[in-house]
């Protein structure tokens, strides 16, 4: 009735921060340059640049986030007032702030650079900036006196810059740029202590594995670009690299299914590589060779999240390409599910605390992929958000332990135990984060992970809901084991204050070994400084200094409360993520969205009487309208379902705790050595210990095959066949020369001599043997040729 024609002009607010979000990655990039060129001369060896730049970009990011909230509220408020009470329609569309400048153009195609700011981008921006800042502050202490202190901060800063650049990329090219820069930095950071063969190998492996995935990125981008370009140009006036363009194209229904599918698959391969999904996850644990802060940054918010982010960013493409909406199994969800379980299992057999965390990361990433694959977009993104905090916290805590508790060892079994008393802060933060990770109510993990599992089931992927639940159990269990081994039970090794000789430790734990290396070889400032460490390392384990604990505490606090940002149990008002992050699936007039700069006005559709649901992929697209996001359904939160998962988690925690007590402290006869006695368990243990032999497969089989036999063969081919042909050609022509010389010049001559000699004899009628000298031979040749030539020609011409 009245509302039918009540369409309101709404002014979507914008602001300086939103308009200038593109500055965020530039700051650290500049800082990087400064560190490289002036770092060594600075009082703090350049670290100040890094920290300052990260804090600066954090401020900008927060500012932008704030203004985004304003913007959304503005639109939503207007929509609310415009729409009749009770009328239900898709959330109003809030255009992202897209600014793009031509970067380069080639063959009529434009390639832009700029920003694409919306809820998703902002979430990541804030998280990345925040975590990076903390990690850098933490590193100030953790790496103090390291030989390549400056290099380290340079790389770290550039690394964050890369991530930020990727996050706010408005198009694929810029995204690839950031993506690859991260790859490079991960190479430099993981290989930070490159004196050790192992570290440089790990670095190489990380870069290479990711690079394998990147093939997919290049190909996928190509496919999408060329299939989408014409459409996007026509309807939105943007190139086929443009992300919102691609989204709209994917949802438009005009896209060819095959292009979508292949594009999505190719891109997802890249995500597998980057986000350490099965089967390319093997580089992540090795990446632990890098300094702990690096691991923390890598695993919480940057590198590995990139893959998840890409899926989330181009969600429409994957949605359509994988038919997420109307299947109950697809590539993404499958990979995600597998990853959850296999990684969680691996986490059980690790001695290295960081490796435990690494596998836990892999498995958590599996959750995110699972969620995305199952249409639970929002929970997955939310999980990125929460996971960042507690995972960062866990890593930093582990670092803190090795730093001040276990004399730079990461071996839980040898050098830890009973540290809770010695380092209360670290222990507390660790435990909080553990619980958050395990998904205990009301900590951060619960709200995100439980949502994922819930929605996965809700969207009909029931099998994978089971996977998710079992994953939850495993998570709880292995984290408990790690916790127990580290902080409880009796103190062992370094934790007990004893100094076993460096070299025994050397091979056992890389990072320790590295520190030795850099105590052993290094004759620079680091040395004495390090002695200082050893000095206060002497009176046993102790709490870490403020620079380390403060970040821990901040992160732990966030691990406690971050979940409230989208606390579904407490009613829709708490679902801020849903409101501010999840894009609208509404059809809008094409131009309005892409060109949405400052303060443009968008037309809100009238809400109609009693109309159920509208939006992309639900109702047919209207002429001249596009949409940028599929309509995803959200599971209604039910305490019943939540309770189930909570019970499972609790069970995991308790059972594992009891087991650990029995096994590690009481040394229970029946348990100890069980894996030796029982065949099944032994087999399983071996498989796990060898990481499912995947590394063996890659390194021993594939890499060797390529690097040695095949390339050798190719090279052999090159040298002996191709080259051979050439040399042979040379030889042959010389041979031919010799042959011509011997046979033509000699034989034929003689032959001709004899022949013509015979002819002469015939004519002469004399039968005397010819004794022809050389001159006569020449003459004979001459005349023979003449005669023959003449003969032929005569015959021809008569």
């Amino acid at each position: 009735m009245l509302a039918a024609e009540a369409t309101a002009e709404v002014h979507a607010s914008s602001g300086w921060f939103l308009e200038h979000a593109w500055v965020i990655p530039i700051i650290p990039a500049v800082a990087f340059a400064l560190i490289i060129f002036f770092g060594k001369k600075m009082p703090m060896k350049g670290s100040e640049f890094g920290v300052a730049s990260m804090l600066a970009s954090l401020v900008l990011a927060v500012g932008a986030a704030w203004q985004w909230i304003q913007r959304v509220d503005g639109v939503a408020g207007a929509a609310h007032s415009a729409a009749e009470e009770g009328a239900h329609h898709a959330a109003p569309f809030v255009g992202p702030i897209i600014r793009e400048w031509t970067w380069w153009q080639s063959g009529g195609f434009e390639f832009g650079i700029g920003q694409h700011i919306d809820g998703l981008a902002l979430t990541l921006l804030v998280v990345v900036a925040f975590i990076s800042s903390l990690v850098q502050i933490y590193s100030l202490e953790y790496l103090r006196g390291d030989r390549r202190y400056t290099h380290f901060f340079a790389a770290l800063t550039l690394f964050s810059a890369g991530m930020l650049c990727m996050v706010l990329a408005p198009n694929m090219v810029q995204l690839i740029l950031g993506w690859e820069i991260m790859g490079l930095c991960s190479f430099m950071l993981i290989g930070h202590w490159w004196e050790e063969e192992a570290n440089s190998r790990a670095a190489l492996k990380a870069f290479f594995t990711v690079r394998v995935g990147d093939m997919g990125l290049l190909i996928g981008t190509g496919i999408l670009f060329f299939s989408a370009n014409s459409w996007t140009q026509e309807h939105l006036g943007v190139s086929g690299f443009n992300i919102s363009g691609l989204s709209a194209w994917a949802m438009s229904g005009a896209a060819s299914q095959s292009a979508l599918t292949w594009g999505a698959v190719a891109l997802f391969v890249a995500c597998i590589g980057k986000s350490g999904q099965f089967p390319l996850h093997t580089w992540l644990p090795d990446a632990m060779a890098g300094p702990t802060p690096v691991s923390s940054l890598l695993h919480s918010s940057t590198m590995v999240v990139a893959g998840v982010f890409l899926v989330g960013r181009l969600y429409p493409v994957f949605w359509e390409g994988m038919k997420i909406g109307d299947t109950n199994i697809n590539f993404i969800v499958l990979i995600g599910g597998i990853t959850i379980v296999i990684a969680a299992l691996l986490a059980f057999v690790q001695h290295d605390i960081k490796k435990v965390l690494a596998y836990s990361t892999v498995s958590q990433l599996g959750y995110m992929m699972l969620g995305l694959g199952a249409g639970a977009w929002l929970p997955a993104i939310f999980h990125i958000f929460t996971h960042a905090f507690f995972k960062a916290c866990l890593f930093l805590a582990a670092g803190s332990v090795s730093h001040s508790g276990s004399h730079h060892s990461f071996d839980m079994k040898k050098d830890m135990g009973g540290l809770a008393k010695k380092m209360p802060v670290t222990a507390t933060t660790w435990i909080i984060s553990t619980l958050a990770l395990a998904g205990v109510f009301p900590l951060a993990g619960f709200f995100s992970k439980d949502e994922i599992i819930d929605n996965v089931g809700h969207n009909g992927y029931n099998a994978f809901m089971i996977v998710g639940l079992s994953g939850a159990f495993l998570t709880a269990a292995y984290m408990t084991r790690a916790t127990y081994l580290t902080f409880f039970g009796e103190a062992r090794g370094a934790a007990a204050g004893e100094h076993h000789d460096e070299h025994a430790a050397h091979d056992a734990h890389t990072d320790h070994g590295v520190h030795d290396a850099h105590v052993g070889h290094d004759t620079h400032a680091a040395h004495d400084d390090h002695d200082a460490h050893a000095a206060h390392g002497d009176h046993g384990p102790h709490e870490s200094p403020k620079l380390i604990t403060v970040p821990l505490m901040i992160l732990a606090a966030l691990a406690l409360v971050a979940g409230l940002a989208n606390a579904t149990p407490f009613g829709s008002n708490w679902e801020r993520f849903k409101k501010y992050v999840e894009p609208s699936s509404e059809y809008v007039v094409a131009e309005s969205a892409v060109a949405s700069g400052p303060g443009e006005s968008i037309v809100l559709p009238a809400a109609e009487e009693g109309e159920k649901k509208e939006g992309c992929a639900v109702v047919a697209p209207e002429e001249g309208k596009v949409c940028y996001f599929p309509t995803v359904s959200h599971a209604k939160f039910k305490w019943s379902k939540a309770a189930l998962s909570l019970v499972i988690v609790a069970f995991g925690l308790i059972s594992s705790w009891l087991f650990c007590v029995q096994y590690y402290t009481r040394r229970n006869r029946r348990l100890v050595g069980l894996t030796e006695r029982n065949v099944v368990l032994r087999g399983g243990y071996k498989v796990l210990w060898n990481k499912y032999y995947l590394d063996a497969l890659y390194e021993k089989v594939i890499v060797r095959a390529v690097a040695y036999p095949i390339s050798r063969a190719a090279y052999w081919f090159n040298q002996n066949v191709l080259d051979g042909i050439v040399n042979a050609a040379g030889k042959i022509s010389r041979r031919v020369a010799g042959w011509v010389y011997r046979n033509i010049d000699q034989r034929v001559v003689d032959g001709a001599v004899n022949g013509s000699g015979a002819a002469a004899r015939g004519t002469g009628g004399a039968l005397r043997p010819v004794q022809s000298g050389k001159v006569n031979q020449y003459g004979a040749l001459l005349f023979a040729a003449a005669a023959i030539g003449a003969l032929i020609l005569v015959i021809i011409n008569t």
């Binding site: 010389y741 010049d745 002469a760 002469g764 004794q771 000298g773 050389k774 001159v775 003459g779 004979a780």
Partner: protein, 99 residues
């Protein structure tokens, strides 16, 4: 006019000459054989010139005779030279340079 016979004679002389050049190893003999060829040529020319009723042939023949004399002169000189250096005029021995 019996042109044909003249030509035939010329041809025969030519063949004999060629045979001599190819088969003889004595330089002087070779020279003489060449003379034979030249004379066969002369014979041809004369025959033809008679047939055509033009003097060109005769002229040509005269030139040939003259030049042949010069040639033989040079030739004999060389043979002499060789004989002086080698005490032989067998052509077979003239094979220091080959290949």
């Amino acid at each position: 006019m019996l042109t044909a016979q003249f030509l035939l004679l010329g041809a025969v002389l030519f063949c004999i000459g060629v045979y001599g050049v190819l088969a003889r190893k004595n330089a002087v003999m070779v020279l003489m054989s060449i003379e034979l060829i030249l004379n066969s040529v002369n014979l041809n020319l004369l025959a033809f010139s008679v047939r055509h009723g033009s003097v060109d042939g005769n002229t040509f023949a005269l030139y040939i005779i003259a030049i042949a004399a010069a040639e033989v002169g040079v030739g004999l000189a060389m043979v002499l030279l060789i004989y002086r250096n080698r005490r032989t005029i067998a052509l077979d021995d003239l094979s220091e340079m080959k290949g």
